[in-house]
């Protein structure tokens, strides 16, 4: 699985980092980013959790 944060939609709620810190980071100005190239299989549910909790619909699953 590959995922992406749309920087134009992200407003720094940091819900992705809060729930799935293995996959995301948020910089000092509230911009979230994905910190893995490929989501390890055991973390795919955590990636889906982040998607389902982003209030800005900023996280996309690029390929499964």
């Amino acid at each position: 699985m590959r995922i992406r944060v749309d920087p134009d939609k992200c407003q720094g709620h940091a819900r992705c980092y809060g729930l799935s810190p293995e996959l995301f980071d948020v910089d000092d100005y509230g911009q979230a980013s994905v910190i893995v190239d490929e989501v390890p299989e055991e973390l795919e549910d955590k990636a889906r959790l982040a998607v389902a909790n982003c209030p800005e619909y900023a996280i996309e699953i690029l390929s499964e």
């Binding site: 940091a14 948020v26 100005y29």
Partner: protein, 404 residues
């Protein structure tokens, strides 16, 4: 405090200070959502009250038609001259970035955000935990407490004082001023007392720190330059006041409402104690179900929104709490599901004004609940004692007697 005339028509004449709305807004929102999802009132000022998730988030993103220049839910004297009773720097910018639109919003927010990044907030955890434990030491053995005034209310104000680099001895005074400004905004005398007290205090702090800089937010802003120029004193004053006003009542209300929920839902107390790993999801769910904060916007030009003829100058009350209870956006929104996994709540707003302190608030709520449950794993409301809720801009319990 001025009394409000009781509301009989919530769709055309709502009042967020009506005691029914303060005590139980949930059924009012449900009724409105299915009959008139954007209510209107002419009380205080022509204002609209959306109740659907989609409407609230759409308005939050439309900064062209819905400006943040006036964000007070209880407008008070916001159309007057802000310097009328204040002999100091120009206050025309209000409390940036919350009361501003781009471009002022953009650069003032950028100055503030690093103070509330998750990395910075991690450094405030030991202080917060210590505060909670100290408070619990004071009453955990007595068998009863006011979980609002004796616990929730005491925590965020002290963390904010630390960030601002001011004495925690001022905590009770800060709390009084912030309540004057937000909770008692309908009372002109109290509102003015709070605003004057707070602004004059921070003005003194500004002058002191100009000559005695420390590591705190105010000192750093005094040394900062934007495009080669120092920052206007009025803007620094506004930012400092904002951090205090926005960082006290709000989080304290979230902690208090969460403790009220746990006191009335013993099954959730047990579950959190048995499954502490649920805490991050549970904190988000409690924020969704009991979102404390409503903000306002002002309509910039006549616009028809979702069939409503909004006029230039009208207010729109950004009903994030009602959006978070919309069944179109949340499965069984009336039920608190501590492990809710699909939860795009907007307790911290939506769009460019997402609460700058959200990482701090979330941390404080989690630590306050963890420490309480560790020390007082089982508790309930004290029978025969009244609970007092406050509402308007910020909803939460002000008196919450519990026994254990």
């Amino acid at each position: 405090m001025p009394q409000t005339t009781p509301v009989s028509d919530w769709a055309r004449d709502f009042d967020v200070l009506d005691p029914r709305y303060v005590n139980d807004p949930f059924t009012i929102w449900d009724d409105l959502r299915s009959s008139c999802p954007i209510a209107h009132t002419d009380r205080r000022k022509s204002s609209w009250l959306p109740t659907r998730y989609e409407d609230v988030t759409t308005i939050a993103h439309d900064i062209e038609h819905f400006s943040s220049l006036k964000v007070a839910v209880i407008p008070g004297d916001e159309d007057g001259d802000p310097n009328e009773n204040f002999d100091g720097p120009n206050l025309e910018y209000g409390l940036p970035p919350i009361s501003s639109d781009p471009p002022l919003h953009t650069w003032t927010r950028r100055l503030l955000l690093p103070w509330f990044s998750h990395r910075r907030v991690d450094t405030y955890v030991p202080l917060t935990r210590g505060l909670c434990r100290g408070l619990l030491d004071g009453f955990a053995d007595t068998g009863h407490a006011d979980a609002a005034a004796g616990y929730a209310q005491q925590i965020p104000v002290r963390v904010i004082a630390h960030i601002l680099g001011v004495s925690t001895d001022m905590s009770d005074t800060f709390t009084l001023w912030v309540r004057d400004i937000l909770e008692f905004a309908d009372d002109a005398e109290r509102r003015q007392r709070g605003a004057e007290g707070l602004l004059n205090y921070f003005l003194e702090q500004l002058e002191f720190r100009r000559h005695n800089p420390g590591e705190d937010l105010i000192s750093q802003l005094l040394q900062e330059e934007v495009e080669g120029e120092p920052i206007d004193d009025g803007i620094i004053l506004g930012i400092a006041a904002l951090v205090l006003i926005a960082g006290v009542d709000t989080t304290w209300s979230a902690i208090g409402s969460s403790l009220w929920h746990l006191a009335t839902h013993p099954e959730d107390q047990k579950r959190l104690a048995a499954e502490p790993e649920l805490m991050p999801l549970a904190v988000e769910e409690l924020l969704r179900a009991y979102s404390p904060v409503t903000m306002a916007r002002v309509v910039t030009e006549d616009v028809e929104f979702s069939g409503c003829p909004m006029k230039e100058g009208d207010k729109v009350l950004m009903n994030f709490p009602a959006a978070n209870r919309d069944p179109e956006a949340f499965d069984h929104p009336e039920v608190v599901q501590l492990d809710r996994s699909h939860n795009r709540h907007v307790a911290f707003g939506s769009g460019i004004h997402r609460c700058a302190g959200s990482n701090l608030a979330r941390m404080e709520l989690q630590v306050a609940l963890e420490e309480w449950l560790h020390r007082i794993p089982s508790f309930s409301l004290e029978q025969g004692k009244e609970i007092a809720w406050a509402g308007g801009q910020v909803r939460g319990p002000r008196v919450l007697p519990v026994v254990f």
